[in-house]
């Protein structure tokens, strides 16, 4: 045996557990779900090829805003609110922690702690905090003369003018996700620590005040992390499942107002046993995520600055 051959074999041997996993848990499921997306498949009888029927159904649901269309709307609403807000709050909290104050470690711990709370526990907690009748948050709103909200029980969207101040189930989910923003905050904080002080000194020499230093030094140097937050936030919103399932007791009710994509997919597959339809949906989601990630990467060239990238 040549030394080369031996080395190749050794390398393969070391990565073989993952290779088996790749085949069984990625390649096969990937191919199978693509095929099943063109089949009628209810688990009771073998898959039966029916062409693009499921995709046509998905397209018509997008057009009518029911089922899949509704789930897209709900997920989009959630993502468009929670991702930008999580960036703003994450950067905001990290900025506050970068101030030269006493007890910084205590503040950092308090800001971060909510993000380690298991999502099942935080769902239970927020269902109770946001109870329309007895919840503490509504109580607080009343005490400052603001209207009570329906939160998880609400089927309103704070989008259209008359409902603008009514917060429903998705707004409650956004609130809950922002409470757990600590993960991103830690990354921002680490990135801020890496910003060379000379940059700030140079800006000061140029007469920049606090605000301008923030926008012209801090934000550009954080832009790779903001970009990371944007991509991960988008992927996570589309995949948000556990909290959505728990707060609606696995239904997406009231009025399908929190029926997000992953819950709709789960229910189609394991409640309606419509594996073909669910597979088609999962492929559309996959393609959507692929395309939007690629688009984000493309725009990133214009606004993400990598330090030492020499441009």
């Amino acid at each position: 045996m040549s030394a080369n051959f031996r080395r190749n074999l050794t390398g393969f041997a070391f990565v073989s557990p993952w290779l088996i996993g790749l085949g069984l848990l990625f390649v096969y499921p990937f191919a199978a779900s693509l095929y099943w997306s063109f089949c009628r498949y209810d688990l009771l009888s073998p898959p039966e090829f029916i062409g693009t029927e499921h995709y046509q159904r998905l397209a018509s649901e997008i057009a009518t805003g029911e089922g899949f269309g509704k789930a897209i709307w709900n997920t989009g609403y959630f993502a468009l609110l929670s991702v930008p807000l999580s960036i703003a709050i994450g950067v905001g909290l990290a900025t506050m922690l970068s101030w030269n104050v006493r007890g910084q470690a205590v503040y950092r711990t308090l800001f971060f702690l909510p993000s380690v709370v298991p999502i099942v526990a935080s769902s239970v907690l927020w269902i109770w905090l946001l109870d329309p009748r007895d919840g503490i948050l509504n109580r607080f709103l009343q005490s400052v003369s603001l209207p009570s909200q329906l939160w998880f029980k609400g089927a309103t969207e704070a989008m259209t003018p008359p409902d603008f101040l009514d917060f429903g189930s998705k707004d409650a989910l956004v609130l809950m996700s922002l409470w757990g923003v600590g993960n991103f905050m830690v990354i921002y904080l680490a990135a801020m620590g890496d910003i060379p002080t000379q940059l700030y000194e140079a800006a000061e020499l140029d007469g920049a005040g606090r605000v301008r230093k923030f926008w012209h030094v801090t934000v550009p140097t954080l832009s790779p992390v903001i970009f990371f937050n944007l991509v991960m936030g988008m992927i996570q919103s589309v995949q948000a499942f556990t909290q959505v399932y728990i707060v609606s007791e696995g239904t997406g009710e009231p009025a399908s107002w929190s029926l997000m994509l992953s819950l709709h997919l789960f229910l189609s597959a394991f409640q309606d046993l419509d594996m073909g339809y669910a597979s088609a949906m999962s492929w559309l989601l996959f393609v959507f995520l692929l395309v939007s990630t690629a688009l984000l990467f493309r725009t990133s060239r214009h606004w993400v600055h990598y330090q030492g990238a020499g441009r």
């Binding site: 990565v15 506050m96 099942v120």
Partner: protein, 274 residues
């Protein structure tokens, strides 16, 4: 940002924000210790009328807590073992052995991290069911023995920082790749392996969708899933719900306090998890 002495306003802002973030947890713990009558009559009182530690005893007795906990520890223990074993092996193969196709396969590994779990969920479920793993904790543990892209990446990055001279020295002493891996690299990688074990433990402890998909027999439920079941049946017993939720959260918070350094560094250097 600047090194000047901060404003009083800055302190005020920090304190208010800290209260906003800490309040829900504090409120949960305080209320979990209130008598159930107080939660009904006067839910907004800040302190418990009397400190009802017995709420916790009641909550533990109201659900098969010990069984759920045992299942959780089995699940987490098995998954940590599987993850640490498989990921360190694979990471070694990617970091320290030079072989053909390594870079291409590593690219594929990274790409699998971006895949949404939806796409593979259904066939994966049917496959594991076909293998007789449905309604068994093994359905959740066995896949961890096949590696996880995120942890493999994390360990590979760590292995790359270990000087190649150490491997050379091992080779001169007659060690093969396996010997270098087990006698030199692994003992040096204790911090990275701890990070992986820690994150996997927390992921298993928190996992809800896995048990929801694969387990049907209440005897096999881990805490995360058991707690959710408890919520639907004890919806009007707020004091028990909050005690159970606190009890479920506490170990993770304790782990966080003891491993804060590892924890925060792990998140800061690798992006995220958890």
């Amino acid at each position: 940002m600047s090194r000047r002495k901060p404003h009083l306003l800055a302190y005020a802002l920090l304190v208010v924000t800290a209260i906003v973030f800490a309040f829900p947890l504090m409120w949960m713990v305080l209320s979990s210790l209130k008598p159930s009558t107080q939660l009904v009559e006067d839910p907004y009182a800040f302190l418990p009328r009397e400190w009802r530690w017995s709420n916790y005893v009641e909550a533990v007795q109201a659900m098969p807590y010990v069984r759920y906990l045992r299942n959780t520890l089995l699940l987490a223990g098995g998954s940590v073992l599987g993850t640490v074993l498989s990921c360190s092996l694979v990471a070694y193969g990617f970091a320290r052995v030079r072989w053909r196709g390594r870079n291409m396969l590593f690219g594929i590994l990274m790409a699998t991290m971006l895949l949404p779990w939806h796409v593979t969920m259904i066939p994966r479920f049917l496959l594991l069911r076909e293998l007789g793993l449905y309604n068994s904790l093994s359905a959740l543990i066995v896949p961890t023995f096949l590696g996880d892209a995120f942890f493999i990446f994390l360990l590979r990055q760590f292995f790359l920082t270990i000087p190649e001279e150490l491997s050379e020295a091992g080779r001169l002493d007659g060690l093969g790749e396996w010997g270098i891996f087990s006698r030199i690299i692994m003992p040096l990688s204790f911090p990275a392996l701890t990070t992986v074990a820690l994150f996997q433990f927390i992921a298993s402890w928190n996992d809800f969708s896995g048990p929801l998909l694969y387990l049907s027999d209440p005897d096999k439920f881990p805490l995360a899933y058991g707690l959710e079941q408890f919520v639907s049946s004890y919806a009007d017993q707020t004091h028990l719900l909050l005690a159970a939720a606190t009890l479920f959260t506490l170990p993770i918070v304790v782990i966080f306090f003891f491993t804060q350094r590892t924890f925060l560094q792990g998140i800061a250097t690798t992006g995220l998890k958890g």
